[in-house]
Amino acid sequence: MPTAEALSHLVDDATVVYILETHRHFEDLRQVASQLAALLVLSAAGSRESTLDHPMLIAAAQLHRDATDGLRRARPTLRARRHNEHVLAAASHLADALSAANRVINSDDIDPILIPLRAGYAALREAANALPGFELISFERACCGIHLPNEVKPA
């Protein structure tokens, strides 16, 4: 999570508030995408772990609801408008993917899940590129990324 101080060097105060307010919801949508993709991997790879009634699907749906509610409440500044559009688009695509997952997670044709899932992830990437402080991979503490505490670069 970027600090307000680090962000304040890059964007105006109102946008800092927006970033701090929506950061967690962005991460939650990323988690929803990850969970859906993970279930698809298990299904496609024929893993021994069943995907039937997987509790993660229920958890993903709840996480998605909470994140979407939070994002709708957020008040984007002009600087944050593009980010907000992308992240809401991501939420919409992921809603489609979740809805399809409840119908076809165990079927051979997983495109109804995968296509909106990819679109959702692409929208999250666009959102991450639109404002500082949002990342799809936790590089800063990953083993092969340089560790730069609380440093945020302009998007």
Binding site: R48, P55, L136, I137, L148
Partner: protein
């Protein structure tokens, strides 16, 4: 008589990486160049690789601008230096699921990918945990998971459960569960093709970053010191190091950490026109050197 040519191919690097991230407990001991590399195994009518590097299209700019990664080049450019195209690669062994080891899946359209099933199932398990456990997901790119879905649908994903011998002639996969990640594996090439090989190399992924993980800081009194990051345990890393060293007859120079810059001191190498290093570990019979 070598069955395979073996090259370590640099595709990017971090010029100044803290040593404490590479060797457990080496705090305040400065920095070191951290090359990003993958391995090419060529011979017996096959071209195989160990890991495929990170996806520059997706986050190369972030890594370059924010995390100091320099000099990235695509597999097409990197492999061209040894006369190989990505389309020539038939088998790829993914040591673990971190972004810098498996992000480039899409660049190898004809390859079959091998990884441990435990690495996949533990992803899923980890993703079902509460937010406060998110540290367990570091280094994982959700987009890589979607790429694996495509591999599975195209029947180009082989989930390995534990060790598997002779996945290619003389090439063995060894599981290293609960070490650097949940389902790590390392690759042993028995370059004499013998069951009791006297000419083996181990490609260890991130089970070791550097020679100090394999021999400590005092060559006269060697010890195993694990890498800085273990999702599993440091104990398992140390015991896996012992297994790897034993598989190469105690010769730690044959355990190849892909992030070790000093391979150049152990093996013939050259710098390409793009500033990337190629280290040549072995040449198959009849193969021309790519570094001289």
């Amino acid at each position: 008589m070598s069955a395979y040519s073996l090259w370590v191919m640099e595709f990017a690097a971090v010029p100044n990486y803290p040593l404490s991230g590479l060797v457990y407990g080496a705090h305040n001991q400065g920095t070191r160049k951290l090359p990003y590399c993958y391995i090419v195994i060529k011979g017996q009518g096959q071209v195989a690789m160990v890991d495929v590097g990170y996806n520059h299209k997706a986050y190369g700019e972030v890594l370059a601008n924010t995390y100091g990664v320099k000099g990235w080049h695509p597999p097409k450019t990197v492999l061209d230096e040894i006369g190989i195209a990505p389309e020539d690669v038939s088998n790829i062994f993914i040591t673990h699921s971190h972004f810098d080891h498996m992000g480039n899946i899409e660049d190898f359209p004809k390859a079959t990918f091998f990884m441990q099933e435990r690495e996949l199932t533990k992803w899923v398990w980890t993703m079902s945990l509460e937010r406060r456990f998110r540290w367990l997901m570091l280094g994982i790119d959700p987009a890589d998971i979607m790429r694996v879905v495509d591999l599975a649908r195209q029947r180009r994903l082989v989930c390995v459960d534990g060790d598997r011998a002779d996945v290619l002639p003389g090439v063995d996969l060894h599981a290293a569960f609960d070490t650097h990640t949940w389902g790590c594996m390392y690759v042993r090439v028995r370059n004499d093709l013998a069951a009791n090989s006297q000419d083996s190399f181990i490609f260890c992924g991130d089970l070791a970053y550097t020679q100090e993980n394999l021999r400590g800081f005092d060559p006269n009194d060697p010890e195993y010191i694990p890498v800085g990051l273990a999702t599993g345990s440091q104990f398992n890393l140390v015991m896996t190091t012992e297994k790897m060293v034993n598989l190469v007859g105690g010769d730690i120079q044959r355990v190849i950490p892909p992030h070790e810059e000093r391979l150049k001191d152990l093996y013939p190498s050259r710098i390409t026109k793009n500033g990337l290093r190629i280290s040549e570990l072995a040449l198959a019979d009849g193969e021309k050197s790519q570094v001289y």
